[in-house]
């Protein structure tokens, strides 16, 4: 399935958000959104991915 991950097109096997994080090696503290909607970590395993979904995986970063 083809999705857009952090702005980049990507071919993935995962069908849920939890599986996607594992597949892409995101093991640390991250926050997720699918199609511009926040997905809390508790709902990731039930979040089914569809073709063309836009997934954002964000992590702590420097800020002012």
């Amino acid at each position: 399935m083809k999705i857009v991950l952090n702005g980049e097109p990507r071919q993935v096997q995962a069908t849920t958000l939890t599986d996607l994080l594992a597949e892409c090696g995101f093991t640390g503290r991250v926050a997720t959104a699918v199609n511009e909607e926040f997905v809390p970590s508790s709902l990731r395993s039930g979040c089914t991915l569809n073709e063309g979904d836009r997934v954002e995986i964000l992590s702590p970063m420097q800020g002012g």
Partner: protein, 254 residues
């Protein structure tokens, strides 16, 4: 001392974590200044996020995540939710940027977003202008802190409109007020505290200085001096001279 949503700040310096020459220098700036609050953000995971998070936690400062770069209500609300989960705090520095060049806040969307986030249980620190009515609306939307700009973000121009900032202090005597953005020099930070502001939030002035750790410490000293001066009830400026040495008793020698 005023509290920020029930939390007393260790000291009035809120320091940004962006733009430092290296993580080690960022760490030293915090350690040498003792800044009580660290502002942070969320960006696409590129591998560096986890080490950064570990370092920030070790600083022991209170964490204030921002919504920097957000231009719409929806974007800011989603970012705030993501930040709450990642940083495990209800605090959010709400930035709603209205203009790309000046980074001036879009105060209309700011008020709307502040209301939504407050209803969602957030404790909102709004980056706003020095407009009193906007301040009033933000308080009405549930904000218990206001953060007016001194000057545009990163400009280093200091307090552009001390008249307005003084009026804001007078209008909202019980509200914790923070000068956020525009500070370039310790004298600007001292001036903010002399006006009776409760804290100063700055980033670029320290991070882009030749010696960020030394500048961070200079900012803290200036903030403490300004705070002490405010508490000491400074004199009013006057137009004419007034001799400080007693006139009575002066020898007649001419």
């Amino acid at each position: 001392m005023k509290t920020f949503y029930g939390t007393e700040l260790p000291n009035p310096l809120m320091l940004g974590t962006a733009q430092y020459p290296s993580p080690a220098i960022l760490e030293r700036a915090f350690r040498d200044s003792g800044a009580g609050v660290a502002t942070v953000s969320l960006r696409r995971e590129s591998g560096a996020g986890q080490a950064f998070w570990q370092m920030i936690r070790d600083l022991g400062a209170l964490i204030l995540p921002n919504t920097a770069g957000c231009h719409t209500v929806k974007e800011a609300v989603t970012t705030a939710h993501m930040a709450r989960e990642v940083f495990d705090t209800k605090w959010v520095k709400l930035e709603l940027i209205g203009h790309t060049d000046s980074l001036q806040p879009d105060v209309f969307q700011l008020v709307e977003t502040a209301r939504i986030l407050t209803e969602d249980g957030f404790q909102v620190f709004p980056y706003t202008t020095d407009d009193l009515i906007v301040g009033e609306r933000l308080l009405g939307a549930g904000c218990e802190v206001l953060m007016p700009w001194g000057a545009p973000i990163g400009s280093g121009r200091g307090l552009n409109n001390t008249y307005a900032l003084r009026a804001m202090r007078a209008e909202f005597p019980e509200v914790p007020l923070v000068i956020d953005a525009g500070v370039g020099l310790p004298s600007h930070a001292a001036q903010a505290m002399e006006l009776g502001y409760d804290a100063v939030l700055l980033n670029t002035a320290v991070a882009r200085a030749g010696d960020p750790a030394a500048m961070a410490r200079a900012m803290m000293l200036a903030i403490q001096a300004g705070q002490l001066a405010h508490q000491a009830d400074p004199i009013e400026a006057r137009d004419m001279a007034e001799p400080s040495t007693p006139v009575i008793g002066k020898a007649f020698l001419s």
